[in-house]
């Protein structure tokens, strides 16, 4: 274990810290909107991590424009593809969470999940 590795891979370290921030926000925040923000931070940290894993210093995105077809000229495109798929998943999940939040807000006029739960316990259905 040495700290040098951590500094050499500072991008991955940042991604993991962001993942932690997003994860704990999604888990611990009471406010539903803040939870959703946490979810998005978590997913974005994932994309940062994936993009870093596919990136090779000094190379370009694998789009052939000037006739260079050598593999050596381009980065690994698969992680970028995974990021795209991940974005699609994250957008649909966020939309679903936001629509649930709207439903809950119309019904209870609050965004605090704990308060909604307490009122639910008092009011029944």
């Amino acid at each position: 274990m040495n700290l040098g590795n951590l500094f050499n891979n500072y991008g991955e370290a940042v991604a993991m810290i962001l993942f932690g921030i997003g994860f704990s926000n999604l888990l611990l925040q009471k406010n539903l909107i803040k939870k959703i923000i946490g979810l998005n931070i978590m997913d974005t940290a994932m994309y940062l991590f994936l993009a870093l894993k596919g990136f090779i210093g000094g190379r370009k995105a694998p789009i052939v424009t000037d006739g260079v077809q050598s593999v050596e000229a381009y980065i690994n495109p698969i992680p970028s593809g995974l990021v795209l798929t991940g974005i699609v998943v994250s957008v649909s999940v966020t939309a679903l969470m936001l629509s649930l939040t709207i439903r809950l807000y119309r019904r209870y006029h609050t965004l605090d999940l704990d308060e909604i739960s307490t009122r639910l316990r008092k009011e029944g259905l």
Binding site: T85, V89, L96, L104, L120, L125
Partner: protein, 504 residues
């Protein structure tokens, strides 16, 4: 290539596309489309099972004919085919059992939306069963989550909305961890196909390099799936989600959705990492501990609960604990017991939910424990079905639950590590007693005659078998299935062992 070999892919695509088709149909037509799709897919899966049993070996179906490290693959062995057939049967019976409740509890304009969700759920379950690609598995895990959330919230009241929100939050935490684990593994091995990852992981393990990252990846994926399938400390969303959603949703969620994730975990253990490496990594010990705690705590919560549907839901938490305890034993016998328990619990829990709705229906739609007095006389078939389900859950011989408990006990005795043997057996004994306390209490309550005066005052009605043919048919099928699993378990256990051998 035989034509049958295309069926796994066709069944995924068929259910995936019949979902959007339902959005333009009326509720009635969508119902028939949904039923037809489930029956056709069940038939196709049975054909695939016959084919795989005939050839005696697994086969790989390359999507778009791109060869291994680049293309996406479907892999079919005995275990996958058995699971697909079984999931179709259970799903069809759950849909049959809940027809009346669906029509009453869901708004007319939203009837067809329900079938979209069910079709998407079926396709994602099939994809989780068949896929040979980790990232595809992740995408279908998310589709599974979204459609399950739709199934919970389609009956609109405060409880289901909050339950759906909590379910989404926990599920998203789980899938975040799962995705992180998959990314770590991709980073380490450079592959996404399960078989390729396995080769690379074996190399890495043999070299002794990247020990910690591999451990972290296994841990993240296990914990992620454990959260999604409601292992004990992560179960807070479960009682409300199962207890207040419409009947078909509750039975499908408890018997199929969580089981799909668990099956994915089995695949990850056997086909991605390799079971020896998983066993060495000590991650399963964590699953073992939480499984045992879940077995006890789930039953204790069920005993304290007076709402019958929530009681059955809490019992699910205990049963999920059994399954993870089987994983935690770290032997093939333990995994066989867990997979048998997946099958037996799916058949029993769906039976209990459908029977419970029949019982509450004749008790003025009250789910309260004391209102159920004598309900076994008012709705005879549901009473019998509930008794069968309860006996199976407690583990009385003849019923399916007994076989899974026997397998768990045998696996527990056979485990080399004595530190695990004793806790397994003690936990099994305690949990059986606790199960007996709350299930037998309910069965006795069902067959305690209610006073005539109370009956007349509350205007409880009698229901005959013929009044709801679909539900009666589903209940009878569930009872037969349960007895079949309990009486002729040998061939099924052999199928599971056969399938696991193909996995490794």
């Amino acid at each position: 290539m035989a034509f049958v070999q295309n069926f796994p892919f066709m069944s995924i695509i068929l259910s995936l596309f019949s979902g959007p088709l339902c959005s333009i149909l009326s509720g009635r037509k969508a119902k028939w489309v949904n039923a037809a799709v489930i029956v056709i897919i069940g038939g196709m899966s049975a054909a695939v099972l016959g084919f795989v049993l005939g050839t005696g070996q697994e086969y790989v179906y390359t999507m778009g004919h791109f060869p291994a490290p680049w293309g996406n693959e479907i892999r079919v062995g005995v275990l996958e085919a058995v699971m697909a057939v079984f999931f179709c049967v259970i799903m069809l019976l759950c849909m049959l059992g809940g027809i009346r409740e669906r029509e009453e509890e869901i708004e007319d304009t939203k009837q067809n939306l329900y079938y979209i969700m069910v079709n998407l759920l079926l396709s994602s379950l099939l994809a989780l069963i068949y896929t040979n690609d980790l990232f595809t598995a992740y995408v279908f895990v998310e589709i599974n989550t979204i459609s399950a959330c739709g199934l919970i919230m389609i009956r609109q009241n405060g409880r289901t909305l909050v339950a759906a929100t909590r379910y989404m939050i926990m599920s998203l935490l789980g899938s975040g961890l799962l995705l992180l684990g998959i990314c770590f593994l991709y980073d380490l091995t450079g592959h996404l196909l399960m078989s390729n990852i396995r080769e690379q992981v074996a190399l890495i393990h043999a070299n002794g390099s990247y020990h910690i990252p591999l451990l972290v990846a296994v841990g993240l994926m296990s914990v992620g799936i454990a959260i999604k399938s409601a292992l004990y400390p992560f179960h807070s969303w479960l009682p409300d989600a199962y207890g207040y959603s419409t009947l078909s949703s509750a039975s499908i969620l408890s018997s199929l959705v969580s089981k799909g994730y668990i099956f994915l975990l089995v695949k990850i253990f056997y086909r991605v990492i390799g079971f020896d490496i998983v066993r060495d990594s000590k991650v399963i010990n964590v699953l073992f501990v939480f499984g045992i705690v879940g077995m006890i705590m789930g039953s204790v919560s069920a005993i304290k609960e007076s709402n019958i549907r929530r009681m059955i839901s809490y019992s699910s938490i205990a049963q999920i604990g059994y399954i993870y305890m089987g994983f935690g034993l770290g032997t093939t016998a333990g995994i066989v017991a867990s997979i048998y328990h997946i099958v037996s619990h799916a058949a029993t829990k769906a039976l209990l939910f459908v029977a419970a709705s029949g019982i509450t229906e004749v008790s003025g739609d009250s789910t309260d424990f004391f209102d159920l007095t004598g309900a076994g006389y008012r709705n005879k078939l549901s009473g019998i079905a509930f008794t069968v389900g309860s006996l199976s859950m407690v583990g009385i011989p003849v019923f399916s639950g007994f076989i899974s408990k026997l397998l768990f006990a045998q696996a527990g005795v056979g485990v080399e590590n004595t530190a695990k043997m004793l806790p397994t057996l003690i936990a099994l004994a305690i949990s059986t007693v606790l199960n007996a306390v709350y299930f037998m209490k309910t069965v006795i309550r069902l067959y305690t005659p209610e006073k005539k005066a109370v009956l007349e005052k509350k205007e409880f009605k009698q229901v005959k078998m013929t009044e709801e043919p679909a539900k009666s048919f589903a209940l009878i099928c569930f009872i037969v299935l349960n007895l079949f699993l309990g009486l002729s378990s040998e061939p099924i256990i052999r199928l599971i062992e056969n399938g696991l051998n193909m996995f490794a």
